[in-house]
Symmetry: D2
Subunit: 168 residues, 4 copies
């Protein structure tokens, strides 16, 4: 239930986030183990599901993530990218993604969502029932999914959502 | 003191906001009494000090206020404009301001900061020691001043600051 | 008649431009006489009709004029502004305009279109049958009006129109 | 030599453009033969050399080409893209490019600049001594190269350059 005191758009707690299934990670620090939902419990998480050849992701979603990274530097927020390829698979393999991340200066960890035979959409994308890219997901310190949006989210709203979760 | 759990930039409570001194209000609803700090206690306040002929206000500050008005519609946030004329006084009188507010579709209440003989800057601007325009001020439900910035503030940060105060 | 070799939008020659009727000029160089159509014959002219409290003028039209001034610096193009006040007359008098031009760094000559009793729209605006602001007018070296548009014009198109007239 | 009557930036005629060496074309109409310099003589040509993973190309260069295509529709201007891959070759092969052109709605013909053993930069890029991407080239109706720029070109200037060549 939303009240006048809430920031806009946050869902109530109670819906546990699902773990992701990742083939390979990019941008991990040396020695850093693969980020899992369990290991990140206690932190606020922002997941950005994208495809490197999706115009909405390249023109809006990823630049917004980079602004989030700057504005919330030093805060207890963890950013993760999830490369959820559901079309043009041959054009967006890991080698292509690595070049893309380098050229577009994406510095936060990005996982390749696991492809599975017989499915165009990869595993995590199906588990979360994501409808396309870009998709934004916010997970609170208890591991509950609190926000899920397809397409553009205004910076004012995203800042409000993140701050609400950081304050809890 | 800032901790990892804070959103960026909010000052600690304890510094009481000062009342404003306004010659005349625009955009009040019929029968609405002049907004005072006392009457607004219990609500979160966002004050935007501007001049109608200040490019930074017209190009960035006021459009941001209009975005805030949309994104936080229905939340317990009150927006106030304060026309703090400290230069070109003859060009920014009340009749000019009224036309400006109409043409630029500024719909929230705007007060004309009180001019006083012998001072270029008006009364509230001097009381708050504002250094120029645009200036943003955030006041919490207890009437404490929690944020004060001259110039541009990123939407992500402003959204975070407002949400933090709404959540308290 | 337009052919495949024309840039888009230029009208054929043959329609003589009308002189403007100006109360007062701003931004003339010391000793510079008032710009008239006759005195400017032989040069390409770009006239921008605007109002200082018109959002489309402030946000788009005047910044475009400033870009034109930079990109075509050293070319045989003369820029003129025309302050065609047809509403909120009390808010856009010469003192207000002077402050506006200073604050928004408008450096090219700007004339105040002549107000006449019994008419909301000023004299030149009526002579040219301008429908509103911003309006762009292009006049060729022979003094013919070759382009007239209300509202936004794309930079690519405006650059093409100016270059065509400069090349003739 | 530039005079006051020139639009900014056009080089004098006399430097013949070189033919391009292309492995494969995308976006040709059914039955359309490969565009060559000889076949296009008599038309004004705008060549955009880009890489699909170059941020300056994706964020600025290609959107500008799409604006050019709209504004100069019906004019005697031919747009060509040249995919000049000089880095991350494995990530920008023809299958990747095809998906990119589809997703970013690039509709004009794009040729893949010919890779040659022992060279990071492809053949046409080396022949034209292009320094990077994005690069813009303008060729006049006689087949002379009249403009060559690396990086961003303002819309006003590009519109002027194109119109000048169309008017000749």
């Amino acid at each position: 239930m939303r009240t006048g005191a809430d920031a806009p758009g946050l869902a109530p707690p109670g819906q546990a986030a699902l773990n992701w299934s990742v083939e390979r990670w990019f941008n991990l620090a040396p020695g850093q183990s693969a980020p899992t939902l369990d290991a990140l419990r206690g932190h606020v998480l922002l997941l950005h599901a994208f495809q490197m050849l999706c115009p909405g992701c390249v023109l809006h979603g990823l630049p917004q993530m980079q602004r989030v990274q700057q504005v919330f530097a030093g805060m207890d927020l963890r950013l993760l990218g999830l490369h959820t390829v559901f079309e043009h698979h041959e054009a967006m393999g890991p080698a292509s993604l690595q070049a893309f991340l380098h050229e577009f200066r994406v510095g936060f960890p990005v996982g390749v969502d696991r492809a599975e035979p017989g499915h165009a959409a990869p595993r995590t994308m199906r588990d979360y029932a994501l409808q396309g890219t870009p998709s934004l997901l916010l997970i609170d310190r208890q591991g509950d999914l609190r926000f899920h949006a397809l397409g553009r989210v205004e910076d004012l709203q995203l800042g409000a959502l993140i701050a609400q979760l950081l304050a809890q």
